[in-house]
Amino acid sequence: MSDTSRIELNITSNARSLPVVRSAVERMARLEGFGDADAHALVLAIDEALANVIEHGYGGAADQPIGIVLASVRSTDGRLGIEVSVRDQGRQVDPDSIVGRDLGEVRPGGLGVHIIRSVMDEVEYRQGEGGGMLLRMVKYVGSGGSTTDRPTTLSGS
């Protein structure tokens, strides 16, 4: 599977759409050559990103647009990867304010961003040009991964 592929999904900000996106992402990851751990990690990160758009970008409103683009890419050292962009028209926030938290204490909240930053190789939040937020992230095959224990780059929130 060497030629590149690109798929765009446009959903509304309804949590009911998430399983459909997960299925599409998982299948694409498999076709691109991702193994179990990498495919699961990618699916999880995208799901968390969408949940955050629904909850924080749109305050729970279920009928707002979210655009997801999945594209196969290659790392500079030749590894296969998938680049994901998630675009919303919701609340604009300072990208630097989107941080996970230290996990020294057991409490809910702040886990989504922690997960995204833990499993993805590149994560970049930006304000969208026509409003809303734009999240761009990349995962490469056999990198990072869900069970590694590398130090996170998060500041506590």
């Binding site: 751990a37 999880l44 968390e48 949940a51 057991v106 809910p108 989504g112 499993v119 869900s146």
Partner: protein, 118 residues
């Protein structure tokens, strides 16, 4: 009604034993289902079982809203000195516990039998 339906879809079985109450879940525990899951688990926690055992053998997927729900319920169960024990985790679900470092806080067993003695 809609909520009830969601709960019923998610909670496959609640079994009360002297060692604790086993709650068997089914389906993806995601943003869509976590609110109903929270309500169902708070209800069980209200009965103050010695152990609250969550059997995830039939849960293919979980996200941070799911583990966040578990954390919140864990605080309630800990408050009355109960134990919260997990079993039946697939490697996929286990990895989410690991990424969020909750595998360090929760008791995780392979089987329900082990969980009832944990």
């Amino acid at each position: 009604m809609a909520d009830n339906q969601r709960t019923n879809n998610l909670v496959k079985e609640v079994r009360r034993t002297p060692e604790g109450t086993v709650v068997a879940l089914t389906g993806d525990v995601d943003l869509h289902h976590s609110p109903a899951l929270h309500a169902a688990l708070v209800e069980v926690a209200g009965e103050r079982p010695r152990r609250m055992i969550l059997n995830l053998a039939d849960v293919p997927y979980i996200d941070s809203s799911g583990v966040g729900t578990f954390v919140e319920v864990f605080r309630r169960v800990s408050a009355y000195k109960g134990k919260m024990v997990f079993c039946g985790l697939s490697s996929r679900v286990k990895s989410v516990f690991e990424i969020t470092k909750l595998d360090k806080f929760f008791i995780i067993c392979d089987t329900e039998e082990q969980a009832l003695k944990a």
